[in-house]
Amino acid sequence: MLPKIDTSTDPQVGYRPLGALDAQSALQPFAGSFGTRHAAHLLRRAGFGGSSAEIARFASGSMNDAVAALLHPAAPDVPLTEFPDPTALFDPKRSRATAQLWWLDRMLRTNRPLVEKMALFWHGHFATSLQKVPVQDMIGQIDLFRAQGLGRFPALLAAVTRDPAMLIWLDNRANAKAHPNENYAREVMELFALGLGNYSETDVKEAARAFTGWTIDRNGAAAFVPARHDDGPKTILGHNGDFGADDVVDIIVSQPVHQRFIAHKLLEFFVYSDPEPELIEQTAQVYALSGFDIAKTVGAILRSNVFYSTRAYRALPKSPIELAIGTLRFLGVSTIPANLPYQLARMGQEPLNPPSVKGWDGGPMWINTSTLLARFNFVNGLVAQTAPGKNGVAAVSAPNADPDDLVRRVGMDPSRVAAALVSGIVQDDVTSAVRATLIAYLENTTPSATMQSPLPFGPENYQEKIRGAVALTLNLPVNQLA
């Protein structure tokens, strides 16, 4: 038996924001004035960012209205059939790439961003991959996350236990009384609900016995086969009984360590890295008191003082999917570029293909030289495609970043163009030096630039210059932060 490998080097350590937590008021509802930057922050964290118009619409109402609209969207989702190309490209059952495009398109065009964001959260949490699971089962699992991702965790975990994709992914379809398979039981404890060190090897073995019998029938559907189930007495985390799959779920969620585990993961996803133990404890209490209700717990987080604190503001790196979808939403692009899954792989987050059962490590692991260049070059390539081609039509339509529209609004004025861009893209979260660099770029007075005959900003070059400034602003370090 191989000794346990030390993986105690926690990549999150060191990325807690500077300053101290106000533990007294952290989870109290935010009562400050709710403005553009608050709305943009909320849309980045609880969705995939927004255009200037969407941000303005959220900012025009109250914080409570904004959070309620995200948690309980009134309008039905964009119908599944309403796609730009319903034939080959978006048939999710046809291939892995179309399945990825299908989900990315949901993220781009949904009017329920938090529902889709929670699906992405659970996809990283219950990290299942196309590498082993058929495409239609992966789609089924994402639909499950979309339907139940804001419901109660015990119901979600019970549904995941009998989800065909999960039955295949972690081999519970092969788990039977005669030949137990511990793979799913182990990951339920280690990765899905408790965390390493909070259970024993015996707990894993006994829980595996309780999960026996759930398998896949000949039609690929989940099925419980009583003859394969071990119905004998079991001892799991100190509880005794003839437990089945759903009993394990109930036992696990009753553990305080589980409540902290889920609280910690939600805080890391929505608020900031390495949250303080007091904040985890308070959030765990909200979660337990809500009856393990994800919507209520996430709602409490999204309304809280700590969520709108300067310590949480721009305190998380955007994941590649957040960066890509946020960029498309800002620009007003309505179709997912066909090579986006490949570009996301280079950025380190190919949807439906997490690197392991642990999902994506996230946090600082999103950022290295290769993945940053992939982000920058995704933006540069996309913005370049918004330029009119030979026939005067752009390959990609980006109505929200149309140079003519911008010049109509603010005039042929480099300072006002730069101001509009840093306001729309990064809500003015830049230094005066950044503004000066963008203005110099627009004016063609960049120091040390090597140009043959620099033209001043004007009718001959404003379109190219504005597109360049859009790319530069999108590629600012601060825009890598959610």
Partner: protein
């Protein structure tokens, strides 16, 4: 745990060149070299890892041509004895491996036979995870080379070069996932660059923005800003560094050899790469195996022969060790499509001037099988342990989570 910046300004090319490298190599806190390496011999050895993706069929790679059982189980896809490039009176190379036969004749090739691990996994994804994280029992967050790098350069210490460890592909393999050591994935030199449009001022403005980026309340902002500086300047640094190295061998024209030619430039130039990951595939030969596998083995052998000729011409062949791996071997018996399905143990190759050429381990029996599959005799972690201890000069136990007997190929 915070990564430190490699490139602090546009003057980085000068900064990273010459004596600065030597000084940086002596940073405090690095895991110590084992005795015998401390004097300098072998202290800057290089490891190239070749992934043969898809599961390479071992029986048609190192062929047990004198075993009647081999010809019985492979009536259509077996390699006739006369065609085998014989190593001895029992085994020989696939005829496409004439490059490896030449390296063997030069004493630079070790063949390690019967490599595997207990309870072998037949899923491409899971078996690849097992090999790349050296963890058959449970998935690991970091790869075996990533864990080596993290211990070689503990938090706070940084490698002398941004390109100390690189993957010559578009994405990072699990083997190179490290907790804090930066490992770039470089599909091509041109892709590792900030590629703006034809307006040069745009790219230059990006550099000004990254060089001038300020820290904020979140530690992520300074980390992203410094990584952006590395990324922005790193491509120019890499191109400047590799430009001074000229490949002195004629490589075959396939993509694998293109990776090896770039590997030679990264190892032999001031880019100073010490761990390089390259990949060749797909060896997943469920149907029509002979044509596909032979073509790929030809790329492998001919590419490595050119690579070592190139390295030798630069006086580097003694400093560079190359090892292959594949996620599994294939079934002993051919299938109905003149291919083979996912199996277990296989041979792998270790190449280099510092390698004691020869054959290590016995060819697995074709009659004493485990449910129709070859039994392994050498745990793959023994090969990793040998490489880490005898070639890279570090203690392998903390990296591999246990002690494994080393093999005499170094």
């Amino acid at each position: 745990m915070k990564r430190r910046s490699f490139v602090t300004s546009a003057l980085s090319v000068a900064f990273l060149g010459g004596n600065a490298r030597v000084a940086l190599a002596q940073v405090a806190g690095a895991a110590p070299l084992l005795p015998g390496f401390a004097a300098g011999a072998g202290a800057d050895n290089v490891l190239v890892v070749v992934q043969m993706a898809g599961g390479n069929d071992g029986l048609n790679t190192i062929v047990p041509y004198s075993d009647d059982a081999y010809h019985r189980v492979r009536p259509a896809i077996g390699i006739p004895s006369a065609a085998v490039l014989k190593l001895n009176d029992r085994i020989g190379f696939n005829p496409a491996l004439k490059g490896l036969k030449e390296l063997y004749a030069q004493g630079k090739l070790a063949i390690v036979q019967g490599v595997g691990y207990p309870n072998p996994n037949r899923s491409h994804f899971e078996a690849t995870q097992i090999w790349e994280t050296a963890a058959p029992d449970h998935p690991q967050q970091y790869g075996w080379l990533g864990r080596y790098l993290d211990r070689r350069y503990p938090a706070g210490a940084k490698p002398p070069s941004l390109f100390e460890a690189v993957s010559l592909g578009d994405t990072l393999p699990a083997a190179l996932v490290a907790s804090h050591v930066e490992v770039p994935a470089i599909g091509a030199l041109g892709a590792f660059a900030y590629n703006a449009g034809r307006d040069l001022a745009e790219k230059q403005s990006a550099g000004i923005l990254y060089d001038g980026a300020k820290a904020g309340q979140s530690p992520y902002l300074s980390m992203i800003a410094s990584t952006a500086r590395d990324a922005y300047h790193g491509g120019d640094v890499l191109r400047a560094e590799t430009a001074v190295f000229t490949n002195k061998a004629v490589y075959p024209k396939d993509g694998f050899s293109a990776q090896l030619a770039l590997a030679a430039r990264m190892i032999g130039s001031t880019a100073g790469s010490k761990i390089v990951f390259v990949s060749i595939g797909s060896f997943d030969t469920h149907a029509g195996q002979r044509a596909q596998q032979d073509r790929l083995l030809g790329y492998l052998g001919d590419g490595l022969l050119a690579f070592y000729a190139d390295l030798a011409a630069h006086g580097l062949d003694q400093k560079v060790m190359t090892m292959t791996f594949s996620e599994f071997g294939r079934r002993v018996t051919q299938n109905a499509s003149n291919g083979t399905d996912h199996g277990t143990a296989m041979p792998l190759f270790v190449v280099g001037g510092g390698v004691k050429g020869g054959i290590y381990g016995d060819h697995p029996s074709l009659t004493d099988l485990d449910a129709g599959d070859l039994k392994y005799a050498i745990d793959f972690r023994s090969i990793y342990a040998t490489v880490i201890e005898k070639w890279l000069g570090r203690d392998p136990a903390p990296v591999l989570g246990g002690a494994y007997p080393s093999i005499a190929f170094v």
